[in-house]
Subunit: 419 residues, 2 copies
């Protein structure tokens, strides 16, 4: 099934916003086996939007529009779509009531502009929004003598994703005309793209026309996407099994799971299963470890809290780090990392303490401890240790990489404990 | 001058790569005063590329292509462009010699495929690449009875940017026919899109053909983009001034700055100017307030640290919250929010304490305190207070919204203090 994306918004054209929606949707649709043929961005201009809908409707079996569904005057996608498909807008009373409740729950009056969100082109289905007030729109129509699926989603990424997953995905999965490509994703942690490639070695005996491997690096680790285009489903699965087995035998402990699993999910499961509680003592990561651990639903089962000790005085007063150690070795040191991990373990009365102290940059680097240096501390009831790692020059990347490395250190220590 | 971008590459369509080139070029071209009307992405498919070049050549005075200029078999942009403009490819000996030197300097043999990089369509100028081996291509042609500028750049962002800045920018700046569109962005905080529109009221006496207003919502607040297309630069600035003045008079304290400024930047400046230090006591936000405050370079001037007290025991032991208050009012309550803010202010010895305690979801909601409920606490040396706010149902959105609301509460308290 051929898909076109039409992303709408002046902010995309002038580069105020990077078009992450197109990338996200492109990946989702490809995984479903669709051929994404074309992505177009135009501004909030009815004539341009109409023209691109018309062009795409000539070629694409699925046309997804994003953006311009909000309540304000520059949100015109709803009107243009209604006009193009000759489907007059009507107020959906049920949706209007829901939007009114949405505002009431927030103790706010329904702004007059928001009632626009309840307008639905005649003959369009609505797609529930699990995240916000705007609903998506869905239409199956015959245009230019072909059957077309048309979806209209908000431009705010969280809302677009919520509606796509809850309402568009199930509709697309029903279609029998999806081309089969079988994907599997292995999630790795604690190893970079180049090192991974080197460890995997020559895979040419497995890879080829019917089996491909892609590296998808991010600050949370590298995901490996295995794709088999073998049309025989069982044969495709067998190919994927063989490749997965090889990868697992080569990179062992670095493979933490499959699919959408994250490092914080895996670590959370390990902690819960072991009956362990955890707390973090953070300096360079500024609270990001706690933020990531608590992004998992149910994390209160094991996560007790954290102390971000940016100032040395706080390292001493709340975590009990000796000022002498800071004076002798510096705040970014093995001794301080260990004392922070032990301190938070002791003060918050948990089983495992994890700590970070590093130089995120752009300032604060020295020849011995350049920007990107981090000491990661770990403490449980039997042992404490710290490891030094070196990352990049960018502050925000470093914070993410430091946090990932700290979480991965805990994961590996707990695996080792079990062995 | 009207510009279209054509970004080429399968990796963009399937979402393996986010199209940052389009955003970067869009911003550069807009700043030059060009109207970026349309951005299209197609894969490495000659027929699709040819079709989109033809479409854009009908409307755009400037057409920029990126991607598909490399040495491998799927890099076909050069061939398609040559064919479309009826300009046979010839090997440029000077460029070939340069590419050979480029490889020699790296002690590598010229790969046979790399000689493709020296092929230039007849009549095209070459654009020097300060970063890599591939050169860009430039053409000024009469197509569809209009004069067209056509630039072809590599898809690797560093090379694309290098060539654009060194060779395309100067060529565009020479053109007298750049139409001026002047942008200004106002950043708001603590107010939603609909409420903002309501507060702004009817702006039709100001808005019109030469002046537009767009709302760009995110979890960090709504940005307002003001655009004047008045060709007279001074008149355009005057229009923007009038609109900005009106907006500021209507939404007052919610406008926190202009351009790319963030709430954490503004709050950081306020704290630094006032000589105040700050610490956060976090429950539902899990460390996100600290993470956001420390995303600003130099935040150690005012940010001392934070305590994430997820468990009630930690609220008591580290922050001094009375267990009686938790038993009587619940952990998500005015009393606990105030005690957390006061506790972190006291224990970390700072001027301002800020606290969050809420229900991020998806579990834990009750009829009185549904998912999305948060109490925000504030304490300085003269007063303490807490406010209740209600947000959405999604855990990760709630964490972001709670953190934004907490930072905005501090910002407003500090502004009020000054008044």
């Amino acid at each position: 099934m051929r898909a076109h994306l039409l992303t709408i918004g002046d902010e995309l054209l002038i580069g105020q916003t990077t078009n992450t929606n197109a990338a996200w949707l492109g990946e989702k649709l490809s995984r479903l086996g669709m051929e994404v043929e074309r992505t177009v961005t135009v501004g909030d201009d009815p004539e341009r939007i109409r023209e691109e809908i018309n062009r795409s409707a000539r070629r694409a079996q699925l046309l997804l529009l994003t953006g311009g569904l909000g309540p304000t005057h520059d949100d015109i996608t709803r009107e243009v779509v209604a006009e193009y498909f000759d489907a007059p807008l009507r107020t959906d009373e049920e949706i209007l009531a829901r939007i009114r409740r949405y505002y009431e729950r927030r103790d706010r009056q329904l702004p007059s502009a928001a009632s626009k969100l309840a307008q639905v082109p005649d003959g369009f289905a609505t797609l529930d929004n699990p995240v916000g007030a705007a609903v998506g729109l869905w239409h199956e129509a015959t245009v230019h003598d072909g059957h077309r699926l048309v979806g209209v989603l908000p431009g705010i990424p969280e809302e677009m994703k919520g509606i796509f997953e809850a309402a568009v995905m199930p509709r697309l999965k029903q279609r029998a005309d999806l081309r089969a490509a079988t994907h599997r994703t292995l999630v790795t942690s604690g190893i970079g793209e180049s090192a991974l490639q080197e460890r995997l070695g020559d895979l040419s005996d497995l890879l080829g026309e019917k089996l491909a491997l892609a590296y998808l690096p991010s600050t949370n680790g590298v995901r490996l996407r295995l794709t088999s285009s073998d049309t025989d489903r069982a044969a495709a699965e067998k190919r994927l099994d063989r490749l997965e087995e090889r990868i697992r035998s080569q990179v062992g402990i670095h493979v933490i799971g499959t699919g959408k699993v994250t490092l914080e999910d895996v670590l959370g499961d390990t902690l819960r299963e072991g009956g362990f509680t955890i707390a973090s003592a953070e300096s360079a990561t500024g609270g990001l470890i706690g933020h990531r651990l608590t992004s998992v639903t149910g994390s209160s089962d094991y996560y007790q809290g954290s102390v971000t000790a940016y100032a040395n005085a706080v390292k001493q007063s709340i975590l009990g780090v000796e000022l002498g150690a800071i004076a002798e070795y510096g705040a970014v040191s093995e001794a301080v990392a260990v004392q922070m991990a032990e301190g938070v373990r002791d003060r918050l009365d948990v089983d495992v303490g994890v700590a970070t102290t590093g130089i995120a940059g752009p300032t604060g680097g020295t020849p011995e401890k350049p920007v990107g240096t981090v000491w990661l501390g770990y403490a449980d009831e039997v042992r404490s240790r710290a490891v030094r790692q070196q990352f990049v020059e960018d502050r925000s990347l470093n914070k993410e990489l430091f946090a990932s490395a700290a979480l991965d250190l805990v994961r590996r220590e707990l695996v080792r404990r079990d062995e």
